[in-house]
């Protein structure tokens, strides 16, 4: 190939291969296509960048963010409900324990009240009985004393009557008393 023939092939690239059948050079190095490729690349990539920057990425980010907040709020809600249920359980346990304690107190109080009442009643009854016993004893004692007094006068009268019948004369009061005193039963 003669040297002057080369510049006439204006569209030939820097790595023009004379062996290739399609007439041109090595397509990626054919510099006459560069400007056109750059223009379309700039338009296509610019459009892509605009779409991604303004529409796609904010939207995907919002979707992911929404999901994350939704998940965490749901988890928080579940946690809150769990602690609420636990608090309710604890409150139930507490009220149960309170009720049991209250029941125990009431039972104990009632028992104490009843037993003290019974005690009081028993004591009054006892005192009453004691009084009555004492009164009875006093009556018995006076009656005994009275009876004992009557025994002496009856014995005197009987003795004087016996003596009068035997002797014909009534004994005088002084000798009767002496005789009675000699046989008197000591109380």
């Amino acid at each position: 190939m003669a040297q002057p023939a080369h510049p006439t092939a204006t569209h030939e690239g820097i790595m023009a291969s004379p062996a290739s059948e399609h007439g041109g050079g090595f397509p990626p190095f054919e510099s006459h296509t560069f400007l056109s490729q750059l223009i379309w690349l700039a338009l296509a990539f610019g459009l892509l960048y605009y779409l991604m920057d303004k529409v796609a990425l904010p939207r995907i980010q919002a979707i992911l963010h929404d999901r994350a907040t939704r998940l965490s709020s749901d988890l928080d809600e579940a946690q809150r409900m769990k602690s609420e249920a636990e608090a309710a359980g604890a409150a139930y346990e507490k009220s149960l324990a309170d009720a049991q304690a209250k029941a125990r107190t009431i039972a104990a109080e009632t028992r104490a009240a009843l037993s003290s009442e019974a005690e009081i009643r028993r004591k009054t009854l006892e005192a009453e009985l004691n009084d009555r016993i004492a009164a009875s004893e006093a009556t018995i004692r006076t009656r005994t004393a009275e009876a004992m007094g009557s025994v002496r006068s009856i014995a005197g009268e009987t003795a004087s009557a016996i003596v009068e019948r035997l002797t014909g004369t009534a004994p005088d009061q002084a000798s009767l008393d002496t005789a009675l005193n000699r046989v008197a039963i000591p109380h």
Partner: protein
């Protein structure tokens, strides 16, 4: 038949609508541009149409969008650290764009947009420009600390700074060439191995060993799917790492 065997033919741009020339530059709506807009359409379908209902319990397509979002988000956070959220639209767009274009390239008879170095270089340059512009905007001249690592002895400093500058400048080149070369080489290899099959079948008795390149091209296809996904990820990760320099220079 001979044209179909040419492994370079698949990378040729075919103008669908031509708008004339500027200098020696032909301005045309090519199949490459069509694939670019198709990629934008697919990505919009996944990330915008599928998420339109904003379901708390996502459907399949919305799950895909969410998985991509969280995957890129975590990659960016791990690579660029605190404050990297502002670059999420850029990294997400880059990853999805490169991924979908690479995957389009795997469809038989389709065109791989990322096999053209001007496309990958423009994307790499976009990343580096963002690093430089944001770095100076956020940190002023302190951004230059990127070239001055801390804890280096003074006599070593000139050499280290020179190395850092070279490494910084080579970043867009490596970023662009890595993606471009992977896609290009993969598609050429695929075409060559697949081309062996009819070539051997046409060569009489040699046709007996034609299952070999067939099996190989199946394996290479699987590998290319891996490369298509992996290179998109590598591109996004490296871009994130470079952006971390703009966020936290001088460490």
């Amino acid at each position: 038949m001979a044209v179909k065997m040419d492994p370079i033919h698949q990378f040729e741009l075919k103008p669908l609508v031509s708008f004339g020339h500027i200098g020696n530059q032909e301005i045309a709506f090519t199949q490459s541009a069509l694939y670019m807009f198709a990629a934008v359409g697919i990505i919009a379908l996944i990330t915008i149409v599928a998420t339109a209902q904003r379901s708390v319990v996502p459907g399949r397509m919305q799950s895909v969008a969410e998985v991509f979002y969280e995957f890129i988000g975590s990659t960016l956070r791990q690579s660029a650290g605190h404050g990297s959220e502002r670059f999420m639209p850029l990294i997400f767009s880059l990853f999805m764009f490169v991924l979908v274009l690479n995957m389009f390239g795997m469809i038989p008879y389709a065109f791989a947009v990322t096999s053209h170095i001007i496309v990958t270089f423009a994307l790499a340059l976009l990343v580096i420009t963002t690093v430089i512009v944001y770095g100076f905007m956020a940190h002023g001249t302190k951004f230059l600390k990127v070239f001055v690592p801390s804890g280096v002895p003074g006599w070593l400093m000139p050499m280290i700074v020179a190395i850092e500058i070279v490494s910084f400048v080579s970043r867009p080149i490596s970023l662009a060439v890595r993606l471009f070369a992977n896609v290009l080489a993969g598609h050429i290899a695929l075409k060559i191995f697949a081309g062996f099959v009819p070539a051997l079948l046409a060569a009489g008795a040699w046709g007996a060993i034609s299952p070999l390149p067939l099996a190989l091209s199946v394996a290479v296809t699987a590998l290319e799917f891996l490369v298509a996904g992996l290179q998109a990820y590598v591109f996004a990760t490296l871009a994130s790492i470079y952006l971390s320099d703009a966020l936290h220079p001088g460490h």
